[in-house]
Point group: C2
Chain length 260, copies 2
């Protein structure tokens, strides 16, 4: 048996999340990949994924792994997958990794990006990838608030009900708000792990900071409260993209220079 | 009656071109806009558009105009349209213009951009907006070839059958090939007018130059031949975007600095 690791990109618009569902809610990324593999080599596998992405969430660097007895060489796996996958899922890389590698449990840190379209009239070409907020947003205040989220905290305030975590301590290595071309605002979160809907609740809260409904200085108290109602709404799924999953000992700070 | 000019952006993926069709091929940009206007003010209008875009072609700066007796103020028109339009069409601006203004005949020059995704594995987020060419392309040769297209020429070689033009002289002020981030190649064409499928045939020919099937130095002879078979295939519609239509006396050269 070989343990195969894939790096994937997908447009989550038409999928009911990553995770295979028992009931027929609609196609999922996991289900689509598993059934393509079954067609390719007549073998049933179960994929493990680095980060669960909800319905409508995208990925430019999701990582999955699975064990296989099929003999297809790694270097031919991306092309084989891509020949049968729908065009909104692409396998970017395949690698044979150590038996004990698990894309979820071996991950050291992950980067999620959230795009906000802050123009009065939304960019039609970004409508599936950015959350449209037509009101003016103060990104200096958003950035000040973001800094309070960095570090190791109990993030219960920022966890939606329905997650399977019992421990709420997570470390955010970096939370950055930046204005980009064409009225776009990018929120980048790098952390050792994220609770259910955590990035989207962080973004919803930062948007309220940008609108002046929350002051940046209130964030430490909001974190400390551990009360979900103190944070704001869950920002919509379609603005979120899982960008990168890191498995090396490399500290996130050593790659920040590249990232920003 | 007021003559209203609109600037529009649309994602052409789900439309059968701009022009309203007699038969029910499917929705068109013109038909959608006209029926939204009819819903807004109970008035039937006919739009004139600056540049016809074929099925699947996009626009970030299409311009249309129409005469209306409705009293809705110009500044409220974009919001009114956008409240009823599907999200893949946005009205960006509305202005009251002189009676003799016609978005097609008053246009001095237009800019079209064509995006080529030149990575081995296509970018799934650009799959609707860029033509995937996985083979290596020599963009230096493509740029050399593009320069031969600049100037006033008879472009019959680059006109598909089915157009309604009888004169084939057009002036290309600028044809530029540039490498962008993430393996993308942008072909920009600025000209006083374009024949049926002309930009897409130019791009198809430039791709063949990039692949080494045509030498840049052969372009003048290909133009002079006035034979359609000497140019190459029509590049697919979905890579093409109408970016800008100019109505002022401003020479394209004075704005090139901004554009590039």
């Amino acid at each position: 048996m070989r343990n195969i690791r894939l790096r994937l990109a997908y447009d989550g618009t038409h999928y009911h999340g990553f995770q295979r569902q028992d009931k027929a809610y609609g196609p999922t990324i996991q289900g689509t990949l598993e059934s393509v593999w079954a067609k390719l080599v007549e073998e049933e596998v179960t994929l493990a994924m680095a980060g669960r992405t909800d319905a409508g969430v995208h990925a430019s660097g999701q990582v999955v792994n699975y064990s296989t007895s099929a003999r297809i060489p790694e270097e031919k796996i991306p092309k084989a997958f891509n020949s049968l996958l729908p065009k909104d899922i692409r396998v970017l890389e395949a690698e044979c990794v150590a038996d004990d590698f698990n894309s979820r449990w071996s991950a050291r840190w992950k980067r999620y990006d959230y795009l906000i379209d802050n123009k009065p009239i939304p960019d039609t070409f970004q409508r599936l990838y950015a959350y449209h907020v037509p009101l003016p947003l103060n990104t200096d205040h958003m950035q000040q608030a973001a800094i309070y989220l960095e570090g190791c905290h109990n993030f219960k305030t920022f966890a939606a009900a329905g997650g399977d975590s019992k421990r709420f301590e997570r470390t955010i290595y970096r939370c950055k708000v930046s204005r980009e071309d064409k009225g776009m605002i990018r929120v980048t979160c790098i952390g050792d792990g994220f609770l259910y809907h955590m990035v989207r609740i962080i973004v919803g809260t930062l948007v309220d900071v940008g609108r002046g409904r929350i002051l940046p200085g209130e964030i430490p108290d909001i974190i400390a409260s551990q009360e979900r109602r103190r944070a704001r709404m869950v920002a919509p799924a379609h603005g979120l993209t899982l960008v990168h999953v890191n498995y090396t000992n490399e500290s996130p700070s050593t790659v920040f220079e590249e990232l920003f």
